[in-house]
């Protein structure tokens, strides 16, 4: 009986560890800074990720060749962007996406060097959470029931011969 709970405790521990690791990974790899903080900030070569929408009618340049200028907007704030990097697979007008780059305080332009898709990680967390919680809960309940049943049957040895003959009749 103690082994049973020890095993499930181990499973719970591993699940918790995996959740923490995933959360940390999300934070280092995917978190964005608000676009509003960009204007007025000092130049820095450190790369940041900002999320926003490409404003309608502003995208120009050789997009397929990896050169583009456009206006990027989030709420009331709009900033100009110069993109220079690998051909962006996902750049179009009215698209919400993430830009990777740095703010240039001299020209007041965001210098983007890569694009990334919208980080809607909540959906991923929801899908994994729902399915694994449901499956593990069902499995735990069944296993516990079987353990209890085996124990009860062992303890009620009293009328064993009669159950045997009942089984034979069937």
């Amino acid at each position: 009986m103690n082994w049973f709970y020890a095993r499930w405790g181990l499973i719970g521990g591993v699940a918790l560890l995996l959740t923490i690791l995933t959360y940390q990974d999300y934070h280092t790899r995917l978190s964005t800074v608000p676009l509003q903080t960009m204007p007025g900030s000092s130049s820095s070569s450190k790369l940041v990720r900002i999320q926003g929408m490409v404003k309608s009618g502003t995208l120009s340049g050789d997009v397929e060749g990896g050169q583009a200028t456009f206006e990027f907007t989030e709420g009331p704030v709009t900033i100009p962007v110069v993109y220079q990097g690998p051909p962006p697979e996902n750049l179009r007008e009215l698209k919400v996406l993430v830009l990777v780059g740095h703010w240039d305080a001299q020209t007041n332009v965001f210098q983007a060097q890569d694009t990334a898709l919208l980080n809607n990680y909540g959906y991923v967390a929801a899908a994994y959470g729902v399915s694994f919680l449901a499956l593990v809960w069902m499995l735990f309940a069944m296993s516990q029931r079987v353990m209890v049943l085996f124990k009860e049957i062992k303890e009620s040895k009293l009328y064993e011969p009669e159950v045997d003959s009942l089984a034979k009749k069937q």
Binding site: I11, L118, A127, Y128, S131, E152, I153, Q170
Partner: protein
């Protein structure tokens, strides 16, 4: 005396449980952490590693129910009936989760939680069939008739399996076609690894759950039979006094 097969299950089920845990752990690690995002969908492609295995495990699970039902009609073994009942409940769980994860995946990719696409409708029908199956089992009192009716229903419901499988090839759908087909595999290696581990994990998990639930149903009936004996025995001894 406990049935021979139930004792075999008790002896060997641990291998299945351990295997499932190991595969799912590798699948989760590679799926959530070690694999890159997709070029077109980004991070949400990770939902595929749980949705697709759940979906084809539910088809596999229903096939087990289908085969078991034929076997039961042929041999009338009460243990097979227990196995079918167990398979139905677990299949319903996998089918329901496949629908839920599919819905969660559909919102960020297709832009809708639900649409009347042939693949989605035929899959929802599978859940309806299983709900009907479980309802039927609750409603019929006589165990022999219960098993017989349920088996017939499960066999008739099997029509849905090829419809689900080929719906994306036969009809116009929003759902994407199969990634594994005669055209080849259209998933790159990096993204294939978590999918394969999660699939193997889900199959083993299904086998393990099926074993445990069969045990549970069998042992419950056995204990009831014992207690019934016990009660009638006390009743008899009381009336004799």
């Amino acid at each position: 005396m406990i049935n021979r097969f139930i004792r075999y299950i008790q002896r060997y089920k641990g291998w299945f449980g351990g295997g499932a845990a190991l595969c799912l752990l590798i699948g989760l690690y590679t799926g959530l952490l070690a694999s890159p995002p997709d070029y077109y969908q980004g991070e949400v492609v990770r939902i595929m590693y749980v949705h697709v295995p759940l979906a084809h495990t539910s088809l596999l699970a229903y096939s087990v129910l289908f085969g078991g039902s034929i076997w039961y009609l042929w041999k009338r073994d009460p243990l097979v009936d227990n196995m079918c009942q167990a398979a139905a409940t677990i299949t319903a769980m996998f089918t329901g989760l496949a629908l839920v994860t599919g819905s969660i995946w559909a919102k960020p990719t297709w832009n809708t939680w639900w649409t009347w696409d042939p693949r989605l409708v035929s899959f929802a029908v599978l859940l309806l069939i299983l709900a009907g199956y479980m309802m039927l089992r609750r409603l019929v009192d006589d165990p022999d008739r219960e098993g017989k009716y349920a088996a017939v229903l499960a066999i008739v419901g099997g029509v849905d399996l090829p419809i689900i499988k080929f719906s994306v090839e036969w009809w116009r759908t929003l759902h994407q076609p199969m990634s594994f087909s005669t055209r080849g595999v259209s998933i790159s290696d990096d993204l294939l690894v978590p999918l394969l581990f999660m699939s193997a994990g889900c199959w083993l998990l299904f086998a393990y759950m099926l074993m445990i639930r069969t045990q549970m149903l069998y042992l419950t009936e056995l204990l009831q039979a014992k207690k019934g004996r016990l009660l009638s025995q006390t009743h008899f001894s009381q009336s004799a006094q």
